[in-house]
Symmetry: C2
Subunit: 309 residues, 2 copies
């Protein structure tokens, strides 16, 4: 039983109504308000000590990560974060300073994107620390990008470099809010997701929800220096396999019609000269994920990182 | 270091902006949208195995409780719940049925109040199950009741019966949504809170935020049959001390001007014949909590139930 099988079993039990544009299964829930109003975006995400961060980790970075993960999901829909609540599960408190570090890490990131932290809760949890963040944002109806709009022929793009994020990027990544808002205002982005489960796994989410497949070019996939470095000390991982499945890159993965692809790439380079954007392949009709390599075409069956595997 | 001391230390670290009508420190956050729109209410609440429920407990009741706790907080501001996200911290999953029980418990309550459950997250937590619920609702600006409006002379009311909720009511209570919405539409409710920390503790929240005190009449405090029963097998608890400090009653505690008190009580009896409402005392200028008993007037220094005490 993995995380996604569980979600499939739970989904029929969730009560919905006609205000729900998108419920479980995309980056955020999308909720309709009165006519003429923006959609609300609603997201929760949590980090658990010993699962998502080690006991030795500076809680400033952990707090920042907890907030940034939700922001990354709002970015992947083209939205802007507005308000967050923070829930802490805490063992016995003997010193308030470590707790304050969590909030200090959140504060600078929140201020950068004008997110207000409007409260939350502390609750007793004897064994280990966890942080659950709930975030509400908004997006103009016309700018809201789901996972289900990819069409055969679309170009597939990814920002930044992938793989090896456990060397540090999983804590210090920048949520791609400004980039996503810029994209959705200027181009007809057909589908978008943030890379949290790994490139292959997250592309499969787009494929499944859009009813399509994809063909990637191995030489085009941007591999991080950390992925290369970590692969050197591993018998089983290659830099490419890390980039395909490590997860927690928190980069933007999106598709756009082929005829917009070149203009988009040119405009991106001018707007964001310090952040690489790569066209890594295209959407195809057949519902498979293919990788074109110098040795030939392979099908990728791996699912990226799965909880509970 | 208790929960409230911790919150006092954290509050200055929370970034706010001019959309935040009420941040940390009331039942819910209150958030302004465009002019003419209702306020949004935003709340999170969590339950942890071994802290808020036992391992033997039916997860149907636990799921229901997790959702009802947030609803009770929205009720205490006069609001209506609209959308929820559910986060589960889960040990290794071997059987999906217990997880589905959680959602079944939520489903019937959600449908009763037209709340949509729009997704959430499952995350790995090795030691114990926890559930964190995030809820968004709305309230008309004129109907939003805070904790800070109590005035000397106000009558203090409480719904239902108090104490001994650990015998079962803490799981099966009904959030007082309909009652609170009815009250705020018809009467000038000055301050309101739901009784979660215990009558004395929650009245202190109103006192502190309104800059007032209160005088209660011991004979008027509604004591539950469970509080009486549990007191019989305790050397230290009396039925009255249970009603003052047990907590998790999830009843409405509110104040209204003395001149509206009788009309309110009469109208309530007609509208909600099956739910008792008692006037238990009045708001006073001096910032103390007094209890008038047959033996004389006492000051109550106890704080009700505190986490981390």
């Amino acid at each position: 039983m993995n995380e996604f099988d569980l979600i499939d079993q739970i989904k029929p039990l969730l009560p919905l109504n006609n205000t729900v544009i998108v419920g479980a299964g995309d980056d955020c829930a999308v909720l309709a308000q009165a006519a003429g109003q923006d959609y609300l975006l609603f997201k929760t995400d949590s980090v658990v000590q010993g699962v998502h961060f080690t006991e030795e980790e500076d809680l400033l970075r952990v707090g920042r990560k907890a907030l940034a993960r939700c922001m990354s999901d709002l970015a992947a829909m083209g939205g802007s974060p507005q308000w967050a609540l923070v829930t802490l599960g805490l063992p016995e408190i003997t010193d308030v300073q470590p707790i304050c570090r969590i909030y200090e890490g959140m504060k600078s990131l929140a201020e950068k994107y004008d997110l207000a932290i409007v409260g939350g809760e502390t609750t007793h949890c004897p064994d280990r620390l966890w942080i659950s963040v709930a975030m509400v944002g908004r997006v103009a109806k016309s700018a809201c990008i789901l996972r289900n709009g990819a069409k055969p022929g679309d170009a597939v793009f990814v920002s930044g470099e992938l793989g090896g994020s456990r060397a540090g990027k999983h804590l210090d990544f920048e949520p791609r809010l400004l980039e996503a808002q810029w994209l959705t205002k200027r181009f007809n982005i057909r589908s978008m997701i943030d890379v949290s489960d790994g490139l292959a796994g997250d592309l499969r989410h787009i494929m499944k929800q859009s009813g399509v497949g994809a063909e990637l070019h191995s030489a085009a996939i941007p591999i991080s220096a950390d992925a290369r470095r970590l692969a050197r000390s591993s018998d089983t991982r290659t830099p490419l396999s890390s980039a395909l499945s490590d997860g927690e890159d928190f980069e933007l993965l999106f598709t756009v019609s082929a005829k917009e692809a070149v203009a988009l790439l040119d405009a991106w380079k001018k707007q964001f000269p310090d952040l690489q954007l790569k066209c890594i392949g295209k959407i195809i009709q057949s519902p498979v994920l293919r990788l074109v390599t110098p040795e030939g075409v392979r099908e990728i069956h791996a699912d990226g990182y799965l909880h509970f595997k």
